[in-house]
Symmetry: C2
């Protein structure tokens, strides 16, 4: 953390009581640690579960490349303060490997198009949808942020929901027909491989990001977690279910649309106006509960 | 570049004449730009040359993930000033996807071991060699640096040498038996796919990094380029030839060994003592040639 502070990588924790000027310096971009631990986890995992036929390794490595690229871009965003509009141009290519992988397997499974594999072949509508989904997931976690613990918290909840969905599809929850087709079973297993380390690393981060935050997760984390979720949705062939899990983020996105398209003025950080809704007494109780006095 | 300077990402260009105190602030870590352009190139390329059987996509995505992870770690190194010894622990896993891919195809082709695919299976000596090769390539570009244009320059030369080697193997230079086995032909094509954008992006960077440098490339670039070269050597199955191309770096590594293992004191930047070897008049001529006057 001291590395972060030394490089002026900190955020101001505002709207807090009992701090000089209502602001504390909190190390930013600590999602970096969670992200790297996550990547190392799934790389090491790959070595232990390598199988000679290994057709799933194409998708696994595509997922790895996509998530790694996105984590990288998030960190660049945190460090260099790149104008946020230009990040869209980076996000779309970073989705490339995963979307590319879908040509072969994904499109056939979902029954959307022929998927002959060329860039402007039969499945281009599907690919466009995939690309937009990736951009949406990444940014929806990002814009649904700003309260201590919200970024990591929503990721834990979303990843757990995806994990439960995978387990229910695999494990014989009553009402699901069995056996699943081989491709779908592989897809759900694949999703579990990626979701378990995501939950573990994010839970660790959440412990530090919980109110009152000792660290901020930064764009590094929001991009990374959004991409990890988008990747399992796409390569796991349950992107529609994923969008259902993202319902709160969809609502927040729709609610934010006037600001995002600059119809209404958008400040640098949009803050919830806590005081207008909550009494002073409630805030005091909250702070004493959190050990802030 | 202004983003870099704003975040104090600059190096001091020392041992220059005619500058106050002999030092100029030069933006650091500009290998970032070359690296991202490179990644976008090979991602887009993947979409146009996607084939339905696509067994080579496993290796391609593994290479992508390895290079992306290494570029990322280089940038972290530049930004956060992580103690350099700890970077070894990151480098080894980042090589994971590529080494993993070698289990199936690489080991069989090279005839070293059985390659049954388990982590501690028959090919572990080969894997250890691959891992060490990756660490060596990455660091050898890094420690053979410190003079304007040297990092980018050696990369252009090495990548061009690899490209010529691939073309000579494919294109029927007299004395090479034809036809090559299918795996080797694919491996050399694969190497060409990765080397062409590396040469292009590095040449662009070299134009700015040429003496007198307008930018510094940073660990971002040295890690990235070393990894890209290591990856084609490993996945292209010509790691022995690659080591021949790396001969100047090998010599520099051996020469630096006493400093690297702390037998002799190692300063933060090891500078060539230009003045003791070159006359003042030669330096003046050099500067007037470079337009510094």
């Amino acid at each position: 953390m001291t590395y972060m502070l030394k490089r002026s990588l900190f955020g101001l924790d505002i709207n807090k009581r009992g701090t000089p000027g209502g602001q504390v310096k909190v190390p930013e971009a600590m999602g970096l640690v969670a992200g790297i631990v996550y990547l190392v986890c799934i790389i090491v995992f790959q070595h232990f579960y390598y199988t000679p036929d290994s057709s799933w390794l194409v998708e696994y490595n595509a997922a790895l490349a996509s998530i790694c690229f996105m984590l990288f871009l998030g960190f660049i965003d945190d460090v260099l303060d790149v104008p946020w509009r230009s990040t869209y141009f980076h996000e779309t290519p970073s989705m490339g490997p995963s979307v590319g992988c879908c040509c072969g397997g994904g499109i056939r499974v979902c029954g959307v198009g022929g998927g002959d594999g060329h860039l402007f072949g039969a499945g281009w509508v599907y690919k466009l949808y995939m690309g937009l989904l990736a951009v949406f997931c990444t940014n929806s976690v990002n814009i649904f942020a700003g309260v201590n613990g919200l970024e990591a918290g929503q990721t834990v909840i979303l990843a757990s929901a995806v994990l439960v969905h995978n387990l229910s599809q695999l494990g014989g929850i009553p009402g699901v027909q069995h056996p699943l087709p081989d491709e779908l079973e592989q897809a759900h297993l694949f999703s579990i491989y990626l979701m378990l380390p995501l939950i573990a690393t994010t839970a660790g981060l959440l412990a530090f990001n919980w109110y009152p935050s000792a660290v901020f997760v930064g764009d590094t984390f929001t991009y990374f977690s959004g991409m990890a979720l988008a990747v399992v949705g796409i390569l796991g062939h349950f992107s529609e279910t994923l969008l259902l899990f993202f319902l709160p983020q969809v609502i927040n996105f729709i609610y934010s649309t006037p600001q995002l398209f600059k119809i209404v003025h958008c400040p640098r950080h949009r803050l919830p106006s806590l005081k207008s809704h909550v009494s002073d007494r409630a805030i005091e109780q909250w702070e004493s509960y959190a050990g802030l006095e």
